[in-house]
Amino acid sequence: MIEVKNIQKKFGDKTVIQDVSAVMKAGQCNLIIGASGSGKTVLMKCMVGLFEPDEGEILYHGQNFTSMDAQAKTEVRKEIGMLFQGSALFDSLTVEQNVMFPLDMFTNWPVKKKLDRVNEVLNRVNLVEANRKYPAELSGGMKKRVALARAIVLNPKYLFCDEPNSGLDPQTSLVIDKLIKEITIEYNITTVVNTHDMNSVMEIGDYILYMYQGNKEWEGTNREIIFSKNQRLNDFIFASEFLKDAKDMRMLEETGQIPNHRNMDNLLK
């Protein structure tokens, strides 16, 4: 479990995150959503220690990460896996070497055991026969899967995914979302996903934190989001007419009512 307590972060005079708190539980996908510039990436970087928050605390299973010394932070980081927006694979290494890198660095396992583990996680992300390929030879979706395999190879307790679907087609995005969800449940990982992908929100959002201009605007589940009356959240999530219709249809199914301002006749047509 990760607890975020009253985090504040400024760059110069500009406050990027203002008093944000959240509790992100193990075994579920915790989504941070918000428009570009809303502070979600900065929040995630504060959580993993790439940025130091100006105020507040980050707790990993009750341990205060923000006040730890460098050595203790390093120990916590060994339990963190992260999937970066651009995959962040090492260009000069093959797929196999990329995934094996954390094992080479942090274990004294024999080569055979390391190779078995690499193949196991590559199979887990449905990537076979790509071991000898270099990142430049892979598609965007394959890169994400390699990065996901590298992130989970050491059996992390915490998995951070920074916009895992950026640059991917909708179908591949769903595959990546499904993988993240499955891995989260299978290994009981505390997964934090930073996204503004509507499909991800509805498919895997066990807990959703909506950021608006650096503040926590709303929190809830993907089911609760349908019924939320928060106008900013609705404007962000259900931005197009099509999505507004989809939301109203869902509300109609579940409650037999739709918001007054929508034209029911048009919707039913």
Binding site: L50, V76, R77, M82, F84, A88, M105
Partner: protein, 245 residues
């Protein structure tokens, strides 16, 4: 104010390199990789430059020594001392600042921009220690070796040019090389090469490691790294000459 802040960040970067390696074998592997990149990768250009510098030095020295009172073997002495004292350490290191320095800056810059450095940090790896330290250590080992090779090739190039242009015979050149030889000159050249090696590796590492932005900024950081390294080499060359000669 930026320059003081940059110097501060540079010193903190150097300090940050010194921590217990997460895995000594991986650091050693990276060190060997950097030795190959910096040493073997630069050997060709160093060899070509050294031979031609020696050859040109011989021809130009002979061109200027017109008095019949000066023995031809003096040409070899002048070429030897010029190559050992200045051309081999300084000129070769300026070329290496371009070859190895720009490679270091662009490699680290690319890793920073594509979040590879962040990925290593998240894994719990001291990126300054793992990425920068092996580069500096490899430069400190390989660049003095390259300078020694450059000295030998430069002097040999001078001998070759002297014979080919009928300026002086090989035996006269060899005799000249042994006359008034000061071994301290070689030590001085090696001291310079160690200082230059540190500059060539650490300055571009600084510019690459802290790059912000995209591909354009990587190119700018690389250019800036080479320019600053060259100026630092020339400045320290002057200071070392004034202090040690």
């Amino acid at each position: 104010m930026t320059i003081f802040s940059d110097i501060g960040r540079y010193l903190l970067m150097i300090k940050g390199m010194f921590s217990k390696p997460e895995n000594g074998k991986m650091y050693w592997k990276e060190f060997m990789h950097q030795c190959a990149e910096i040493g073997v990768g630069s050997l060709g250009i160093v060899a070509i430059i050294s031979v031609f510098i020696g050859a040109v030095s011989t021809i130009q020295t002979a061109y200027q020594l017109v008095s019949p009172l000066i023995p031809p073997s003096t040409i070899a002495q002048i070429v030897r001392d010029t190559v050992i004292l200045e051309f081999a350490p300084t000129l070769v290191c300026i070329v290496l600042a371009g070859v190895a320095g720009s490679r270091i800056a662009s490699e680290l810059g690319n890793m920073r921009v594509s979040e590879q450095i962040d990925a290593l940090e998240i894994m719990g790896i001291n990126t300054k220690g793992y990425l920068i330290m092996p580069k500096i250590a490899a430069a400190l080992l390989m660049i003095p070796l390259l300078v020694i090779i450059a000295m030998a090739l430069g002097i040999w190039g001078g001998r070759l040019a002297g014979s080919m242009a009928n300026i002086l015979s090989g035996s006269v050149y060899d005799r000249g090389l042994l006359e008034s030889f000061v071994p301290y000159n070689v030590i001085f050249a090696l001291i310079k090469s160690y200082v230059f090696a540190f500059i060539i590796s650490s300055v571009p590492a600084f510019f690459g490691y802290f790059v912000q932005g995209g591909a354009l900024e990587i190119g700018r950081a690389s250019t800036k790294a080479v320019v600053v390294s060259c100026i630092a080499i020339l400045f320290s060359d002057y200071v070392l000459s004034a202090l040690l000669l």
